[in-house]
Symmetry: C2
Subunit: 443 residues, 2 copies
């Protein structure tokens, strides 16, 4: 793959990984589901996108999973890929979309029967944004896109910056109002408990931290880590035992909230409850000897690459006020954010670029995109949850967390996700039908 699609000085190439499954593919009347890989190892996404496998036979579909550059094994400069801003310079969504376009051309060239078949983009989360954007920018490459849990409006001021954490909070409140209330109280409790070195040790022990807290900076890190844990739980609050970001029980928030039944407990009791709750997320297997603050989810996600992308194009304003949400108040400060980015990566974010490039809320001239969102998913706050036109449709999944619809069929799936998947398949079948109808018309 070309390292730089948008400049000619650098003519280097790199190996981009993609996976193909063709056991259900039909050369006559078939289709190709093309997963627009996001910020992680493509094998991991492949294993967590059971939906594509489940519908392959019905759609006579070949499955293609394309790895996003700078993730997994698709590293433009090998081990040096994250070395500095010069090597990182080709990590953008535009380059990734161009990769997908070139890959589709390559597949059409090397697999003759694929040449006259419809490609459909499928993706979740950032991959869902890429699927939608790919249909917008390269409609000649895919007849449509399923953009699952794609927060394409989580930019600038298109949605309030607080909406994300409000949904996280609502998820915990839904289990029990005392749950979110307890968590809201916990930040001050932690603050009070960690005022001296005795307290720091006490908290470190109570939470079984692998590395003891040394100072107030560590305490801030602890709070951030705990907050991120609640966020992740909201994302993966699936109705059955699963292992996406971590191995977890069914409805994990419900399990976590069993430890927060009474908000009127002492600080040390609350601390103990936090440990029990964290243990649900970090130690469902029961194997962990201590809790490691440097990890919050699977290592299959590429945290380096994502940190760079968030510091350049994918600038998503988040904020909390401690009233509408259960977190400590934190305003969105672009200047601070920008300075941090410059320190870390030597680049400055361009927070308005994504809207310039991809149209923001003004996307009604496009067609054939399904935006699916789960009501439990904090990312639904920045997603498209109302139909824009007849062919830009929103599908909302009442009991769904983060792209539940992309996961494999499960006996515990709520009706809402079964319905969503069947609507998705219906749209895809229409796109495929329209494609073959227009082929016939041409000949």
């Amino acid at each position: 793959m070309q390292v730089d699609h948008f400049g000619f000085k650098n003519d280097k190439h790199f190996n981009q990984r993609y996976l193909i499954a063709d056991q259900h593919w039909k050369k006559e009347g078939g289709s190709i589901l093309f997963y627009t890989g996001n910020e992680g190892d493509i094998i991991w996404f492949c294993n967590n996108t059971g939906f594509m496998w489940d519908v392959a036979e019905e759609l006579k579909a070949m499955l293609v999973f394309a790895e996003h550059r700078y993730y997994g094994q698709s590293l433009p400069f090998g081990a040096n890929s994250f070395k500095d801003s010069r090597h990182m310079n080709f990590l953008t969504s535009e380059q990734a979309l161009a990769d997908f376009a070139e890959l589709i051309k390559h597949l059409k060239k090397t697999i003759p029967a694929a040449k006259n078949q419809p490609f459909i983009a499928v993706g979740g989360s950032y991959g869902g944004m890429l699927a939608a954007w790919f249909r917008m920018k390269y409609p000649h490459m895919v007849v449509g896109a399923l953009a699952a849990s794609a927060p394409i409006w989580q930019f600038e001021d298109m949605v309030p910056c607080g909406v994300f954490m409000e949904i996280v909070t609502a998820d915990f409140r839904r289990s029990s109002p005392n749950c979110s209330k307890s968590i809201r109280k916990s930040w001050d409790a932690i603050h009070r408990l960690t005022r001296n070195s005795t307290g720091l040790n006490l908290v470190s022990e109570a939470l079984h931290l692998c590395t003891s807290l040394k100072n107030s900076q560590d305490v801030q890190h602890l709070k951030d880590w705990i907050a991120e844990t609640w966020v992740n739980l909201a994302m993966v609050d699936y109705p059955y035992e699963s292992n996406f970001l971590q191995p977890l029980p069914a409805w994990p928030i419900k399990v976590v909230c069993q430890h927060f039944k009474n908000p009127n407990v002492s600080d040390t009791e609350l601390l103990q409850n936090i440990f029990s709750a964290l243990n649900v997320y970090y130690n469902y297997s029961g194997q962990a000897k201590c809790l490691n603050m440097s990890e919050t989810s699977t290592s299959s996600l590429g945290s380096m690459g994502w940190s760079y992308q968030a510091c350049t194009e994918i600038v998503m304003p988040f904020c909390t006020n401690g009233i509408d949400d259960m977190f400590e108040p934190h305003a969105w400060d672009l200047k601070d954010f920008s300075n941090d980015c410059y320190r870390q990566w030597g680049v400055k974010p361009r927070p308005t670029w994504i809207t310039t490039m991809y149209g923001g809320k003004n996307i009604s001239s496009h067609s054939n995109i399904i935006f699916s969102n789960g009501d439990l998913d904090p990312w639904s706050g920045g997603g498209v949850t109302k139909n824009i036109t007849d062919t830009l449709v929103a599908i909302n999944i009442a009991e769904g967390a983060h792209h539940l619809d992309l996961r494999a069929n499960n006996a515990f799936d709520p009706m809402s996700v079964l319905l969503a998947r069947s609507m998705e398949v219906r749209h895809m079948k229409k796109w495929i039908r329209d494609f073959y109808a227009s082929l016939t018309k041409k000949h």
Copy 2:
């Protein structure tokens, strides 16, 4: 303007020039015609796009003319802009389109009444390609595009490589079959006349060349220069006296062909006729003391930048066979072309990229683009001359040369161009009406 929209390492900016005319603009119910500048000085394009001025009042339109980066005064690195492939690296159509998008955002921000008005892209030739591509890639920025004489299919094998020179030939044949026949004969005549140094001097004198021919390389240059002259004449074969590439009489090919009435003349007579014909193009004013082979058209066009673009993205295969056209046979040889590009600019062309990026012939999912072409214009061979859908429409101008429709109204305009312009305005009015209707619906 950002030098690099697609990478974050380079955060430099440069001054991009644009022109605004608002004497006919209405803040209520108005529109904005946005000229997507092409490979030259924007003032020159502004002065040669009378159509926009002529329709401004009717459309209550503000006129904006945006200069293309690396042309005119919009040089990203000032005098160093053409220094090497590192400085040239940001000269691509994608960067130019992103410039236009950023400029429109800037205008909406700084001219409040423009915020809720429809922008329409207008361009001719490469600028017409940009107008069409801009509507395809940034439909949230413009409600439609007028792409005049835009050869968006003059790439890869979408049209036969010979079609361009065949149309040039047809233009001369239309004046009189003897005209194209004489020109076809002239190449061998020149070859025979320049076999020795006496001949070289004789030809140099007969053609009043500013610099005498010294060798066979110069002779090749002479033939290329003459061929390019016939090509340029085909492009600017306008029905009235004009000054686009050069000051010229009305229907200049007719004037040129008066010197080629008899194809059965001696080589020296034919040479004399060529001189008379060249004189129409290079010395209509009668001021030229000699003919300068280093020039073929106005210096307002940026030949450096265009040469680079033709060597990178805008790779247009041309060929001749001497049978269907009046030129010496010359096959399209990508390898030769690529080697020449590498020698000249240190870059290699990517001949399939434009199709990957802009969809080639598979563009039916887009909307609101007018493709206008003149039947006399050699570029119409690579243009869209049939309707693709109800909103991707072709307008053909029987007596039109290169984007005649974009030129100012003229008493000698043939009916075909008057009709074309009125259809163009009708489409634009519909786009504007639809825009305001959708605004009303939103509120």
